[in-house]
Symmetry: C2
Subunit: 207 residues, 2 copies
């Protein structure tokens, strides 16, 4: 909305389940516009190299001899947990974290509560994801948070455990876009119940 009139805006915006322009067409547009001699800015949400297909768009351009500069961004994998008060690492709690987008990786992931998992694979698959986590060694008691609509006015966090989160999410109508965080760092969230570890759900809103 704040671009000068000389800039043409081509909206290829994706929302969950709605991709008005295919990835291959996006790649073509980048190449076509650059070949017309224009400077092209491909503006993306999040980081272009964290499940953002930025690498493919760069390859498409470079295959046509178009030089590309990549500007890293703030990835939702880290920033959405932060918006809910959850640091993906925290001294004495978690030294490392893993970001995955598919179930294929789950059998090999670290299992300790001191290693944070960020699942970007979609809340519709939460029941299957948590089943696989337990089947491959993660404790059913491990804390989990689902953060919907990070940074939006209606941001909402649901907390539970690997055992309880899928049912909680279903009963609360949790929907994409959402980021799932698994690990002891979830206990650092203000949404984690301080008084009783048995109470495993709280409701919050705010950005």
């Amino acid at each position: 909305d704040r671009l000068p009139a000389s800039v043409r805006d081509i909206d290829v915006g994706k929302t969950p389940g709605h991709h008005p322009v295919t990835q291959s067409r996006i790649n073509e547009i980048l190449v076509e516009e650059a070949q017309r001699g224009l400077g092209v800015v491909r503006l993306k949400g999040g980081d272009p190299f964290v499940l953002g297909r930025g690498g493919e768009e760069r390859e498409a351009c470079e295959a046509h001899g178009i030089p590309v500069e990549v500007v890293p961004g703030v990835t939702s994998a880290v920033s959405v947990p932060a918006a809910a008060g959850i640091p993906v690492t925290h001294r004495g709690v978690a030294r490392g974290f893993t970001v995955v987008t598919g179930h294929e990786d789950i059998p090999q992931l670290p299992t300790g509560g001191d290693h944070t998992l960020v699942l970007l694979m979609g809340v519709t698959q939460l029941a299957r994801s948590t089943e696989l986590l337990v089947a491959h060694g993660r404790s059913a008691d491990c804390p989990v948070a689902v953060v919907e609509r990070g940074f939006a006015a209606d941001q909402r966090t649901t907390v539970g455990t690997v055992a309880t989160i899928a049912d909680l999410a279903r009963s609360r109508g949790v929907r994409a876009p959402a980021v799932v965080v698994v690990g002891d760092v979830v206990k650092l969230s203000p949404d984690w119940p301080a008084q009783s570890k048995e109470r495993a759900v709280t409701v919050t809103s705010g950005g």
Copy 2:
């Protein structure tokens, strides 16, 4: 340098091996200045919640009733590989990535070239890290990049394999600050030799 004169600047800057102000003193300063009624901005490099001890600083403030707003940043774990042309995920190459800062996590990490590892634990420990990676299942042939001084004018990338990178880094005098990336995504770097997979080192510079 661009702050108005009414803003007081307290430098607690850390550089590798040089921490002029201890973490506990930093926490105290944040609390003291806020308790004087001032608005306090704790400006950090990278993301405050990715091995940035932001969670501890927040806890220190909140323990004194001081409200804290966290602004996520661009983490070097993702952006420094990007600066060297390496996407931490890439369709058909890697679906997920893990960021670790200590050796303790290595025995449990995914071993496939299709899962990217980012090691922030320091290049001085590179030989030990790569030994442990092989001992715990990662292929000795897996590509590795070490990116020194990401985004600086004298940024330098060294590429090799899990088997070769420690010797290469030593012979080239690789030093902190540096980010280590392990996985098939390293082959997407312009620094990866296109003609021969046997040639396992190239030299580049530039920001």
